[in-house]
Symmetry: C2
Subunit: 179 residues, 2 copies
């Protein structure tokens, strides 16, 4: 696993370019009230698939950005193997998505913010670099880390504020009906 | 994690009943030339979703039996949370499927054959029982283990025989064109 800050300026520029596209996807999730996470799959300078987290609106537990981007890329290339492809995602993948990245034979994964609670690409585990699986993936951590982390913390802060407000309104309603 | 053989006769009978339905699904995969793996999700005696591995025919890396069964169960219940549900699968889940089972908040997973190469529910890892994730799953291993393992070994034996035969035919063709 390499850290984004340790790469050459040229490498950083390329990864920043594609990560900005993943951030655009994350913002589409945010606009729908979904946790803002976006992913994009690129090969030879071409976008094979891109997607954003849609768990709430689809009622699908597996509708994480990475899974939907892999499905789109498989559809584009009409192949379940995505050899030579790079996956950019704004948040460190969970075990399901880390496993999907292995299963799809993706070449490298570049992620933004770390996920200390469920991340399986460096935090709790490092599944893509486990040599016991039949495919290993190169990992770059911390690309646009500040921006991707800010997107998430802002989203959760707004959610907490909204819930506090709702609680207060409900409490006031309760009080008003007492008279 | 409990072993199927350590359960009471009554518990074994119930799990065998539902596993036989997962085996039926695995046989549907086999009939299509897919690796024979089947899964079924049950809650309160009702089937919420069932599916079989369709990776080759759909060109989708994520089209494992468990993922498709979870998608079907989410669709049936119109909820991404499958609390209280049991997932039966003929082979020990891979990291992606073990992660999907955690993400879907499934109550218990019951599997048949072990997968020493990629299994993440006891073999390489035991993700569903890792207390660091926000949801823990009860695991029963080895339900109808002989039958589910035989399905797979028979499938791979037939595949090897078919490939040997094709190789021989191609070799003979090569020889005949030399004259």
């Amino acid at each position: 696993m390499r850290n984004f800050n340790d790469l050459s300026q040229e490498e950083q520029n390329i990864h920043q370019y594609w990560m900005s596209k993943a951030i655009e996807q994350a913002k589409l999730a945010q606009a729908m009230g979904e946790v803002p996470i976006g992913a994009i799959i690129v090969r030879d300078g071409e976008i094979l698939g891109q997607a954003y987290n849609q768990r709430e609106c689809t009622h699908q537990a597996v509708a994480h950005a990475e899974i939907l981007a892999i499905q789109a890329a498989n559809q584009t290339s009409q192949a379940w193997r995505l050899e030579g492809a790079s996956l950019y995602v704004t948040l460190e993948p969970c075990p399901m998505c880390a496993g999907a990245i292995i299963n799809a034979r993706i070449k490298e994964v570049i992620y933004g913010a770390q996920d200390p609670k469920a991340g399986c690409v460096g935090s709790l585990y490092n599944l893509p670099e486990d040599e016991r699986f039949n495919h290993r993936i190169q990992v770059i951590a911390g690309a646009c880390a500040d921006e991707t982390a800010a997107l998430l913390s802002e989203f959760f802060q707004n959610l907490r504020n909204k819930r506090k407000k709702e609680k207060l309104i409900n409490k006031q309603k309760g009080l008003s009906t007492e008279f």
